[in-house]
């Protein structure tokens, strides 16, 4: 069936822009979440927005589902292909079209990597603030789809706060703009609603991003604590003092051990937890805040406190944190990474509960997290050759998300729902909430062809009349009540 689309796709993208060989298609069978795999029926690599529009039109006409993919670093299976669909690979669209430092804006194509935007803006004194850990490879288009965060979003906000305009291809194949780049465009904020919609409302073809001034001063502190609880106390004290650091990251003993073995980041030996606090801004303020943070860490029981004196020392401190996932990968056969969020004040309680759950299940958990905003990244370690461990790890992972919901948090802070967590959505939202979200989906994609099967546990047929007034209420039918 899908073979009939190939000639049209070749017309649009050229012979080198269409992949139909099953072996080659396997390159695209998963994103950063390798536990879900599905090879697409066809992959195309458009080079212009018009080509993307034409590809989507062809899919829509043939009623074939399509999925957009950036660099494939997503951690929730959001770009998992459909075996019956077309995968639209955006990585050839990587032009930086304009840098406008006075307006603090840049216009880029979706395949441009996150870091490349900052690199291009640096000569003008600006950077692009969202900084997911994968920023060397991940694409800005993917960041828009996932509303990506990063270590520094505590102060700077997420992708949605830095995207001012989007050219999109709608699921019907039309090119249109959401937002005019000003941050104050007229009409509904479709730009805000689209950002973070995980590729289910359309495909981004150009992005107007906000650029931020490179701060005058940056200082990075590393503080060791006997326990994560003591580290958590320090975090609360810092926030309570009215200080908004650029980032506050925590790692527990197991994560420290793994990082030390992998990258020799020279974290204090024997620490139960380390805290990385980064402050940036005007020099005078950073100097004062840094002294205050040191004092607060000491009061909370912090042992050794180091301060990076130069960019090189800063890089060493961050090396441990940034390599944590990979480092943990070296001490275990397999791991699941979760992305739940809890209110910051609930961190100590939740970490205790995770430790208890871990002990009870006999499954190790390494904790690496964005402590400032309560975004946990528990790494659940297991042996994937043992069916018992696989099951136990999966259960423990789910129990951690339950804990997050129970404490008023979220099942995902930055990785997205994707394929991986759609089954947890009904735990966080009621049926009416999910149905209402799908109204937005139906407005954009009534045919349900744009990245279907993601985010929501059950698709909604857009022809259905929404609301509670379906059919006659049983009590009315029984003559026991009257509706008016």
């Amino acid at each position: 069936m899908i073979e009939t689309l190939i000639p049209r796709m070749v017309d649009i993208c050229g012979p080198s822009g269409v992949i139909s060989d099953p072996l080659e298609l396997r390159t695209y069978e998963c994103d950063g979440l390798t536990s879900h795999r599905a090879a697409p029926a066809l992959a195309v690599l458009p080079q212009t927005a018009e080509q993307v529009a034409a590809v989507v039109q062809a899919c829509a006409a043939a009623k074939v589902p399509f999925v957009a993919r950036g660099s494939g670093t997503g951690l929730s299976g959001g770009a998992l292909p459909r075996t019956d669909g077309v995968l639209i690979v955006m990585s050839k669209m990587r032009r930086i079209i304009d840098i406008d430092p006075v307006s603090q804006r840049a216009i880029v194509e979706p395949g441009v990597t996150n870091l490349a935007v900052s690199t291009a803006a640096r000569p003008f004194g600006y950077f692009y603030a969202p900084d997911p850990s994968s920023q060397i490879v991940c694409s800005v288009g993917g960041n828009v789809a996932e509303n990506s965060g990063g270590a520094h979003c505590l102060k700077n906000g997420f992708t949605v706060h830095h995207v001012m305009g989007l050219q999109i291809v709608t699921p019907a194949g039309e090119l249109t703009w959401l937002g005019d780049g000003t941050g104050a465009s007229a009409g509904y904020d479709l730009l805000g609603a689209f950002t973070g919609s995980e590729g289910t409302l359309g495909i981004v073809t150009k992005i107007v991003v906000k650029l931020s001034r490179i701060p005058q001063a940056v200082t990075t502190l590393l503080a060791a604590f006997p326990t994560t609880g003591a580290g958590g106390t320090a975090v609360s004290a810092i926030i309570g003092a009215g200080i908004v650091p650029a980032a506050i990251e925590m790692m527990d003993a197991l994560a420290i051990e793994a990082a030390e073995a992998a990258v020799h980041c020279r974290y204090p030996a024997g620490a139960g937890a380390v805290l990385i606090v980064e402050l940036d801004g005007p020099e005078a303020d950073v100097r004062r805040d840094s002294a205050a943070v040191r004092a607060l860490c000491q009061e909370a029981g912090g042992g050794e406190i180091r301060e990076a004196a130069d960019p090189e020392e800063r890089a060493v401190i961050w090396a441990g944190r940034k390599s944590a996932f990979a480092a943990v990968g070296r001490i275990t056969a397999a791991y699941i990474v979760q992305d739940g969020v809890v209110p910051r004040t609930a961190l100590p309680r939740v970490l205790d509960r995770i430790a208890a759950l871990s002990a009870a299940a006999g499954i190790r958990v390494a904790n690496v997290f964005h402590a400032g905003d309560g975004n946990l990244h528990p790494l659940v370690l297991y042996d994937d050759s043992s069916p018992r461990e696989c099951r136990a790890a999966e259960e423990l992972s789910g129990a951690i998300l339950d804990l997050c919901i129970e404490h008023g948090g979220s099942i995902t802070g930055e990785h997205g729902v994707g394929m991986d967590k759609s089954k947890y959505m009904p735990k966080m939202f009621g049926a009416d909430d999910l149905e209402t979200m799908q109204l937005l989906r139906c407005a954009f994609d009534p045919a349900g062809l744009c990245n279907p099967g993601k985010v929501f546990p059950t698709p909604r047929l857009c022809g259905e009349v929404p609301g509670v007034h379906r059919g006659v209420h049983p009590l009315v039918a029984a003559g026991q009540a009257e509706q008016f």
């Binding site: 079209i97 304009d98 406008d100 006075v102 307006s103 216009i107 979003c153 949605v160 706060h161 305009g165 249109t176 703009w177 959401l178 937002g179 005019d180 780049g181 000003t182 941050g183 104050a184 007229a186 009409g187 509904y188 904020d189 479709l190 805000g192 609603a193 701060p215 005058q216 609360s236 309570g240 009215g242 908004v244 005007p282 005078a284 303020d285 004062r288 910051r344 905003d373 008023g408 948090g409 979220s410 099942i411 995902t412 802070g413 729902v417 967590k421 966080m428 009621g430 009416d432 909430d433 999910l434 149905e435 209402t436 937005l440 407005a443 985010v455 929404p466 609301g467 007034h469 008016f484």
Partner: protein, 438 residues
């Protein structure tokens, strides 16, 4: 239906329903009833009863911006949210607050200030408001923000969760109580600035910020569009982290006041204020208290409903050209609008005095829109957004409104209509008040 009999459905849905009085008119359109729900459930029941009877609904907070937007095509029931006035939760340690929509900005500031925190929005003065401080629901629905939008953004940037009631009465939530959260669609963004056309905002959760320990204002009087643009750009590009860069010009030909707000540690702020004076020039002064014009309506006009208030947005690099275009358009129309706003963020408000000839106001608006449509200079010509700015009329007297399109060209209007049709298929939520007749 007559106005003196309240239909049984409405009375059963909500204990407090009254026939409407003349002061309940929405932009000149008289509703039949006013409902005062006191709870989420009551508000939902009112919405459901209205939907069942095909009654059009307009939500109302303090009524400070009820004159904004087009008059509703149909308006049967005003839903007054002032009884839903509880701060439901202030988690100071998490810098988060959950409030009912009828809480006023002043009331919330009082609660949060006690803990040294704030909702970092500067809401423009109420102007000719009857009831003083605007409500949180109204601020969210109109998407307004003041000078510090440069640093903190607008309501859509600070709202992290919304509970809304759909046109059919269904209570629906999105987002949550944690700042970092990407689970599901973020409908708070959609409801922010939707003018009550998608649903009734009943509760909202906001991210808070600490109150700064110190603030300083560095101001200067500057003459000429190019010099103003240069001063604003220099302040915005400095490493001194300005929280706001504002301009205010009461009359054409007069000086433009340029003001920069610095926030933070007292010692740091003092040091930076000195450095910012160096950036702005020898004539500039630093003060601790805010200048009288700060964050107000242009030219101290109060932005009352008698005049015309226009919000223009543009890419900041176009500031000099935009200021010239305003003067050219105003000169051609024989008007002298006052202007003020967040120049570095590319948002200005223009105020035309009451009594100005409607034809002149319309001509001025046309001139502005033509000039803004031309603002797409630079390397990206033809590749960026087709329009890089807008001029939206927030409110205007009826005789002006008849001659103009309040919203002007809006990109993505077809998608907006599709969204409206999904959320409110009967078009009963503030029908006709929004862009494109939505």
């Amino acid at each position: 239906m007559t106005t003196d009999t309240i239909p049984g459905a409405l009375a059963l849905a909500c204990r407090a329903v009254t026939p409407a009085a003349p002061r309940d008119a929405v932009a000149g359109v008289m509703p039949s009833w006013v409902a005062y729900p006191a709870s989420l459930e009551e508000a939902s029941a009112v919405m459901r009863a209205a939907a069942d009877h095909g009654l059009a609904v307009v939500p109302r907070g303090s009524g400070t911006k009820l004159s904004w937007g087009e008059p509703p095509r149909q308006c049967d029931v005003v839903i007054d949210m002032l009884r839903m006035d509880r701060v439901l939760e202030h988690a100071a340690g998490d810098l988060v607050a959950r409030v009912q929509a009828g809480v006023t900005v002043a009331q919330l500031a009082g609660v949060l200030g006690g803990a040294g925190q704030q909702l970092a929005l500067d809401v423009p003065p109420a102007g000719a408001a009857r009831n003083g401080s605007p409500t949180i629901g109204g601020v969210l629905a109109t998407g307004i923000a003041g000078p510090r939008r440069l640093r903190y953004g607008t309501p859509r940037d600070l709202v992290i969760g919304v509970t809304a009631i759909r046109a059919d009465g269904v209570i629906t939530r999105s987002g949550g109580k944690v700042v970092k959260n990407v689970a599901g669609y973020d409908l708070g963004k959609l409801f922010a600035g939707s003018y009550g056309t998608l649903g009734l905002i009943a509760e909202a959760v906001f991210r808070l910020h600490p109150l700064p320990a110190a603030t300083a204002f560095v101001t200067d009087d500057v003459y000429g569009a190019a010099a103003v643009a240069q001063a604003v750009a220099a302040a915005a590009a400095s490493e001194l982290a300005p929280a706001a860069v504002e301009i205010d010009r009461p009359a054409r030909g007069g000086p433009v006041r340029v003001g920069v707000l610095l926030e933070g540690d007292p010692g740091g702020v003092e040091e930076r204020a000195g450095q910012m004076r160096g950036t702005l020039g020898a004539g500039s002064v630093a003060t601790r208290s805010e200048p009288p014009w700060w964050g107000g309506a242009p030219g101290g006009t109060g932005g009352g409903p008698g005049g015309t208030l226009i919000r223009i947005a543009f890419w900041a690099a176009a500031l000099g050209g935009v200021l010239e275009a305003i003067d050219a358009a105003a000169g051609a129309a024989g008007l002298d609008p006052a202007l003020a706003g967040s120049a570095a963020a590319g948002v200005l408000h223009l105020s035309v005095r009451p009594g100005a000839a409607p034809g002149a106001v319309a001509a001025f608006l046309d001139g502005l829109r033509e000039a803004l449509a031309r603002e797409k200079a630079g390397a990206a010509d033809g590749e960026g957004p087709p329009r890089r700015g807008s001029a939206v009329v927030l409110h205007a007297p009826a005789d002006v409104r008849e001659l103009i399109d309040l919203w002007g060209p809006v990109p993505g209007l077809d998608l907006m209509r599709a969204v409206k049709d999904q959320f409110d298929p009967g078009h009963l939520m503030s029908p006709g008040r929004f862009a494109g007749g939505i």
